[in-house]
Symmetry: C2
Subunit: 160 residues, 2 copies
């Protein structure tokens, strides 16, 4: 039934399925790499996003928006990472409900170490299968799928 309405719609579904599969399989491969030092990719995402935050840190709410995981899930994940000494959580002086998060020295070091290893894995996997020109092409296409290339907001200030 997926293709009944027209060839063009079928091509759209085929593209989605291929994209889905590619992401899933690469993700699985990367996850099995030894670079993670016992952390999950989701935890690394937290470290990575915090590494991009300004000096003062980032509010948990903003982090949730960037992260694709649920708010309760992030809350508990932060708990664990604070216990492990990777993240520093302090009350937001401007809003008594809020929490400001920033990386500890350990957290920052871990992010850098994982980031370097992961980047190496990614480069090996992607460049083994696509040329540099094709990588650019791919990025342009997938950027358009998320509106990441829209007229505004190309600088990485992804508010989403």
């Amino acid at each position: 039934m997926t293709g009944r309405s027209g060839g063009a719609a079928r091509e759209a579904v085929a593209a989605w399925e291929s994209l889905f599969r590619a992401q899933s399989e690469l993700f699985r491969g990367f996850s099995q790499s030894p670079v993670w030092h016992g952390r999950t990719m989701r935890e690394y995402d937290v470290l990575y996003q915090l590494s991009l935050a300004p000096e003062a840190g980032m509010r948990q709410r903003d982090l949730t928006d960037r992260l694709l995981i649920s708010q309760p899930s992030l809350s508990r994940m932060i708990d664990r990472m604070v216990d492990e000494g990777l993240i520093d959580r302090s009350p937001d002086p401007r809003d008594g409900r809020g929490a400001m998060l920033c990386l500890t020295a350990d957290g920052r070091a871990l992010q850098r170490r994982i980031g370097a290893g992961h980047a190496s894995d990614v480069a090996k996997a992607m460049r083994g299968r696509l040329s540099d020109a094709e990588l650019v092409q791919l990025r342009q296409l997938t950027d358009r799928l998320t509106g990441a290339d829209g007229p505004r907001d190309t600088t990485g200030g992804t508010r989403s």
Copy 2:
């Protein structure tokens, strides 16, 4: 040696991040559609793969290979779907350990209904952002990333 050394490696990482984000955001959007009738996308994947199986059905082992979820997880998911009357599980006459799976009439009807709605969502999202030619281009690129067109494995860490 990673991340900073060359622009080409950075482009590979940028492409991966863009791909990751595109898949995640589209996935989240599709998940919130009303088309799922209370089922998860993972369950739909099971229905979909079984809809492609030959008349006699499919072995659970083969399904696991196609599905990107763990074997125990699939085993339990099948349990639930058998209880719900969507899947028929019978012993494999050729292998006493094995189970043959096939859709019930209800399961097949559900797959068709969900598939049609989902395809419509996918087509709307994808075709709203990329032209038909670009969709073909995207599919070709992502197919290559999974080796869907030719085996190649330079990563050393990824089996299968």
